[in-house]
């Protein structure tokens, strides 16, 4: 029996086989792993983007909360930033007193993020009511002021001489001095 496959056909079949093997190797060896990597990268990116959106939501919620707090506590925030001015304080509060003297502004101590200054005050009032009115308005003043003991009321003729100590609280701008107590200047 004579062999009927020509040389031409043998070439054709060989090239076909070679290319077919190359396609198979390329597909399984390169394309499919790369495809798997692509899928993993895509799912990773989706996760990262989801996380980013969560963080952006958190950021916008936090920002909203901060703005809300700033709006509601604007007076308090401004008051803590305001350095104490004895002349202005006297000017604002002299209507409650016949005579008001701020004798000394001393740095007292640092409490957390706040610096505390002590102010000795002596005044003369007509009646205790003036002092009550003063205490009512002190909470609305430009500074955060706490009236502190000792408070002394002494009758002098028709007037009452009063002396008391005030603690003025403001933001501690010196971030290094965050110790609980500092020496008085």
């Amino acid at each position: 029996m004579k062999n009927s496959i020509s040389r031409q056909h043998i070439y054709l079949i060989s090239i076909s086989l070679l290319l077919f093997v190359f396609v198979l190797v390329f597909a399984f060896g390169v394309l499919i792993p790369e495809g798997k990597k692509y899928r993993l990268q895509r799912s990773d990116l989706i996760k990262v983007n989801k996380k980013l959106h969560e963080h952006e939501d958190l950021e916008s919620n936090t920002m909203e909360k901060l703005k809300d707090l700033q709006q509601k506590n604007r007076t308090v925030i401004t008051a803590f930033d305001m350095p104490f001015n004895p002349e202005r304080f006297e000017e604002q509060n002299k209507k409650w007193f016949s005579n008001l003297t701020i004798s000394k502004v001393d740095f007292s101590k640092v409490e957390g993020h706040f610096a505390i200054y002590e102010v000795n005050t002596s005044s003369e009032i007509n009646s205790p009511k003036s002092f009550y009115d003063f205490l009512d308005t002190i909470n609305k003043s430009d500074w955060i002021i706490g009236i502190n003991f000792p408070i002394d009321f002494k009758r002098e003729g028709d007037l009452i001489h009063s002396s008391f100590r005030m603690k003025v609280y403001c933001n501690n701008l010196d971030t290094n001095a965050s110790t609980s107590t500092s020496e008085a200047k």
Binding site: Q8, S16, L66, N73, F131, L135
Partner: protein
């Protein structure tokens, strides 16, 4: 001498079959390479986007930290101011209550309000008025009360009333 009646045709390696095969594999390989190139490009693009997202995430988190710091600072300010304002109001009420406590027949000349005590100086018509109308309510407020009297020029009595709250007992009372 001619052995065949047909003209010899030129033989080439690119026969029709071969051309078909080459075309088929060319298209197949082209598709494979294009897919591979697409995957490589996407890989690169995903890696870049992931890096950007992570960097953005870091920036967002650091901004959130900063905002939270500001929030806690404002809350601290708010709490402290509320505490101070309440203390001022309580102080006002305490002073008001103290002066309301003093009966009309007794005149105060001086009042010293201390952190844990009260010293009153004044004048009373007699000891009984002082004991019943001033000392009794003071005793109910303070833990220790001391009084001393000395005669005034008009026959009345000058008094000094020293009253203290013991910190330990105050703590127990508050508990």
């Amino acid at each position: 001498m001619i052995y065949s009646y047909i003209k010899p045709r030129k033989k080439s390696i690119f026969t029709e079959d071969m051309q078909l095969l080459v075309t088929f594999f060319t298209i197949t390989l082209l598709m494979l390479f294009l897919t591979y190139a697409f995957l490589l490009y996407k890989d690169y693009s995903f890696t870049t986007q992931k890096k950007e997202s992570l960097a953005k995430q870091k920036a967002v988190l650091s901004h959130v930290d900063k905002l939270e710091g500001e929030i806690s600072k404002i809350e601290e300010q708010k709490n402290l101011s509320e505490k101070i304002f309440t203390k001022n109001i309580v102080l006002k009420d305490s002073i008001s209550n103290l002066f309301d406590l003093v009966p009309v027949r007794i005149t105060l000349s001086r009042a010293e309000l201390l952190e844990n005590g009260l010293i009153l100086y004044g004048i009373t018509p007699n000891k009984d008025v002082y004991n019943f109308m001033l000392q009794a309510p003071l005793r109910s407020i303070f833990h220790r009360t001391y009084s001393s009297f000395y005669p005034a020029q008009n026959g009345w009595l000058r008094f000094v009333s020293t009253n203290y709250i013991d910190e330990e007992e105050k703590y127990i009372d508050e508990k």
